[in-house]
């Protein structure tokens, strides 16, 4: 069953305005939290809620917050990752455009919990409309005394800056994002040190995804137990699932974690279009290994997807029907990763391009019998060996597509 938390205002006219958000009780939770809860209590509440990061990696949010060292003498920064750019993923954009105040309330609570005086919202440069809505919302919130310096009845202050990206997917990787905010080229940093200890401008920093933060007001409003119970044992709450590809109703759907993939496709997105059969489904955005038609009863949560060799990722579901060419689909995905590889580390820089070249050659009818194994081998030498997760992201689809649909990667003439 679909549950509307983050999406609850989306269908209302002017959902992006402060007026509509406040009609639904907006900013009440922030006010109550500031008045009655200590930052430590907020962190504990979020820990108990089993909220996990909605950006792709699924790291427990409360734990991330608790890693921030106290009293280092340096400011603590909160960075909001709104650099949503993976093919198939369009959930954060809806929040930014349809209900920016819910995000701002979440940012306020998170900043209070970790002790951040300044926050940065790193916005994908192409999100022009979203940027306008967010900046308008910040102006409205500041004017209403909800954000900004020296807020009434509270020692809490928060200045939020919107920083526009310049079009690099890699800047959604959290350390590349920090480099970009600092005005440098978006190259991921080596870890350790982790951002919680040494992040933005060398200070302790928490980086959270837009959807993650939009969940926070609900947790503080209704309690960790309530939120946690919505999901599975280890993955609390609901998740936004952008569904695209060969379905009747592509769009954004909110379901509890653990909802079977098939339910989201059939009930939410109206099933496969034109009565075709499913050939495969990418369950969590371009970087997640593809599932075959036999695997789509999997519950959509972090652990269940890991068990079948894929990932929840950003939750972006891409449905491929029986007429889809897996070769062309993989080529499309890998062109994206080759284009977006930052070029800093060797296996990702060279491997992504090599993979594209081999796929292009097969697509041009010049494949060789050893090509599928070559592709698998290149991917194997990228996975787990790159500086940041982009190498894994590029390798995952290759390994799953070529393993599960091997015959499509053999040149028909050569393989006969």
């Amino acid at each position: 069953m679909s549950i509307k938390l983050v999406t609850r205002n989306f269908d209302r006219p002017d959902s992006h305005t402060l007026r509509v958000y406040r009609e639904g009780g907006g900013y009440e939770t922030l006010r109550k939290v500031l008045a009655t809860r200590t930052p430590q209590e907020v962190v504990e509440e979020v820990k108990r809620s089993n909220l996990r990061g909605r950006g792709g990696a699924g790291f427990p949010t409360g734990m991330k917050w608790s890693f921030v060292p106290r009293e280092t003498g340096k400011p603590v920064y909160l960075c909001v990752n709104a650099d949503e750019g993976e093919p198939g993923t369009f959930k954060d954009r809806f929040i930014l455009e349809q209900d920016p105040h819910m995000l701002l309330e979440g940012i306020g609570i998170a900043a209070y919990a970790i002790g951040a005086r300044y926050a940065y919202l790193y916005l994908r440069g192409e999100f022009v409309e979203a940027g306008r809505r967010v900046e308008d919302a910040i102006a409205e919130a500041c004017e209403a005394g909800l954000l900004g310096s020296d807020l009434p009845d509270s020692k809490f202050s928060l200045d939020l800056y919107v920083h526009y990206g310049a079009g690099a997917y890699i800047c959604g990787e959290e350390t590349a994002l920090l480099e970009s905010i600092e005005g440098k080229k978006g190259w991921p940093r080596v870890r350790p040190p982790f951002p919680a200890v040494k992040g933005l401008f060398g200070s302790p920093t928490v980086i959270n995804n837009v959807e993650t933060l939009a969940k926070v007001p609900h947790i503080l409003e209704k309690g960790a137990a309530w939120f946690s119970a919505l999901g599975t044992e280890k993955s609390g709450g609901t998740k936004l699932f952008p569904v695209s590809g060969k379905v009747n109703r592509p769009g954004l759907y909110e379901y509890p974690l653990g909802t079977p993939l098939r339910t989201i496709i059939d009930e939410g997105a109206g099933g496969v279009s034109a009565g075709k059969k499913i050939k495969g489904v990418i369950p969590g955005g371009a970087s997640c290994p593809v599932l075959t038609a036999d695997e789509i009863d999997v519950p959509m949560d972090y652990d269940a997807l890991a068990k079948v060799g894929s990932m929840l990722g950003s939750g972006a579901i891409i449905v491929l029907d029986e007429e889809t060419s897996m070769l062309k689909t993989l080529l499309n995905l890998e062109r994206f990763f080759a284009h977006e590889s930052c070029g800093q580390c060797t296996p990702c820089r060279e491997g992504t391009r090599w993979i594209v070249q081999v796929l292009e050659r097969i697509a041009a009818g010049k494949g060789a019998p050893e090509d599928p194994d070559l592709l698998l081998d290149i991917a194997a030498h990228m996975a787990g060996r790159t500086l940041c997760p982009l190498g894994d992201a590029a390798a995952g689809p290759v390994r799953s597509f070529v393993t599960k649909f091997r015959e499509e990667f053999l040149d028909p003439l050569n393989s006969m």
């Binding site: 690099a168 890699i170 080229k185 080596v190 350790p192 080759a338 284009h339 977006e340 590889s341 930052c342 070029g343 800093q344 580390c345 060797t346 296996p347 820089r349 060279e350 491997g351 992504t352 391009r353 090599w354 070249q357 081999v358 050659r361 070559l374 030498h381 787990g384 060996r385 790159t386 500086l387």
Partner: protein, 516 residues
């Protein structure tokens, strides 16, 4: 202090040490491209991946801090597989132009290829074409196809010189190293990026296509061009057939010394290698005959020097002779000068040159304003410290006014200071100018005798740098043609002056041979 095991060997290191540093200390070599001990570690080339027990993924040794009880393996099948694959990736676009590449013979990629690579290439696609000749500055040229994008050069300029001159532009496989628009590499430390480049991407325009590195021999010396005393390697070819000499120096490179220069040298010192075989080197002793200086051989020239010194001292006493000893000489030379001219001959008009070249610049990296390498050594040999500039002025005034009849100058690199405040022209009262040095100079026109000295790389001795660090070096090369080390020239001179009390002269025999 964490203790860890690397390849079954135990080592205890300070907290914060990386696996790479610990392995280096044990002498266990882990291949690397981007890691350099003098720069920040970025873990980007992925060549140094090692196996750490209890961690499922391979870890980059250069960025992994050691932890108590860590067990590291640098030579397992998994590690070798990773090295093979990184090399395979790097070689995808690397041209096979080792036969014309100046880095061949000292190239990390070549070495690693021989050791770890997959010899049968699997890459059958179209290689990326990039610029083969991109001039980055007066001394640096870039071959974009050879670059492995390790960013060592970028980090060197950023972290050591504080200048953001180089960057890696574009993304992914299109990435390319370049200067920022409108900038060229003119900073006085740029030469280091050629040493730093692990492959043949950045080469030195003065060294390009000159020599194969395996034809060069390496000697160790000290840079004599400022008071820092950087440790240098002198790379020379013993049998060069393209030069009038039977040998030629092709480059200076830094030698690591944490107490003096770290990993680097400045370009002023680096490119001074050219002076050693320069056409302006003094090659044989000369005497003035009328308007011309005529090659005269050591015996005849030194006898004439000795005779003139005797005449002046006998007629005018020790005040009639002046001596300028520049701090470019070794401590040994300074001691011999003191014994000969001060203790035995009783000279009082002695100067050691101004400490500061007013037009010289100094920085917080290496370069010192005092362009002489051994001011401390002169003090150690008993010459006064203090304001040598004023003393030098005094001696020069004495020379200009005719009070000093004979002026003996030992040492190279007369700073501009001299030419501006005074000159070596012959004073109206007349006078005898004797120059003992390595290079020709405008003052030669007025000299009565020219005594060619060996340069630092041709000399053994020691210098004391501005921080009091004494550094001993030996001669890398024999002196050019007839030139001799200062100490030997002075030894011969003291014998000719009949100073029987002279301490044992190491060169006595050779002098006698020549006399006989």
């Amino acid at each position: 202090m964490p203790t860890l095991m690397i390849d079954d060997r135990k080592i205890t290191v300070e907290p914060g040490t990386t696996v790479m540093q610990a392995a280096d200390r044990l002498g266990i070599f882990i291949p690397r491209f981007c890691y350099h001990p003098g720069l920040s570690a970025v873990g980007s080339c992925r060549m140094c991946m090692v196996e750490v027990e209890k961690i499922p993924k391979l870890q980059t040794a250069c960025t992994t801090p050691v932890v108590e009880g860590m067990v590291v393996h640098t030579y397992t099948e998994q590690v070798m597989d990773a090295r093979r694959s990184v090399l395979e990736f790097l070689l995808i676009n690397h041209p096979l132009d080792c036969p014309i590449c100046d880095k061949a013979g000292e190239c990390y990629l070549q070495d690693d290829y021989m050791e770890y690579a997959r010899y049968t290439p699997r890459y059958k696609e179209t290689r990326w074409k990039k610029r083969k000749v991109h001039i980055l500055g007066p001394t640096i040229v870039m071959d974009e196809e050879r670059c492995v994008l390790c960013s060592r050069c970028v980090r060197f300029l950023q972290e050591v010189t504080g200048k953001q001159r180089l960057g890696i532009f574009e993304r992914g496989a299109r990435s390319v190293l370049s200067t920022f628009p409108g900038q060229t590499l003119t900073d006085p430390y740029c030469g280091n990026i050629v040493d730093l480049c692990p492959v043949g991407a950045l080469t030195d325009r003065t060294f390009r296509f000159q020599q194969r590195v395996w034809m060069l021999r390496r000697g160790e010396s000290i840079c004599p061009y400022c008071a820092r005393g950087c440790n240098i390697a002198v790379d020379y070819n013993e049998r060069s057939d393209v030069q009038i000499n039977d040998r030629r120096v092709y480059r200076f490179r830094p030698r690591f010394n944490p107490k003096v220069n770290g990993h680097w040298i400045c370009d002023r010192g680096r490119y001074a290698y050219r002076f050693i075989d320069d056409a302006r080197r003094l090659r044989e002793p000369m005497l003035r005959e009328g308007k011309r200086l005529v090659p005269s051989g050591w015996e005849r020239t030194l006898k004439r020097v000795a005779r003139r010194i005797r005449e002046v001292l006998d007629t005018f006493g020790p005040e009639g002779m002046g001596l300028i000893l520049l701090p470019s000489v070794t401590i040994g030379t300074a001691r011999r000068v003191r014994k000969l001219f001060v203790d035995d001959l009783g000279l009082t008009r002695i100067a050691t040159g101004p400490s500061i070249d007013p037009e010289a610049d100094e920085d917080s990296i290496l370069l010192r304003r005092d362009r002489f390498p051994n001011r401390g050594g002169l003090v150690a040999a008993g010459f006064p410290d203090g304001d040598p500039g004023a003393v030098t002025e005094g001696v020069l005034r004495g020379w200009a006014t005719g009070k000093i009849k004979l002026l003996y100058v030992i040492g190279d690199d007369l700073p501009r200071f001299f030419e501006e405040t005074s000159s070596f022209s012959i004073p109206s009262a007349g006078g005898i100018l004797i120059l003992q040095r390595s290079m020709e100079g405008p003052e030669d026109d007025f000299a009565r005798m020219l005594l060619p000295s060996a340069m630092t790389a041709e000399t053994a001795g020691s210098f004391v740098n501005f921080e009091g660090e004494e550094q001993t070096f030996s001669a890398v090369l024999p002196p050019l043609e007839e030139a001799l080390p200062d100490e030997e020239i002075l030894g011969r001179l003291s014998l000719l002056l009949g100073l029987k009390g002279e301490e044992a002269c190491r060169h006595e025999n050779s002098v006698e041979e020549e006399q006989g």
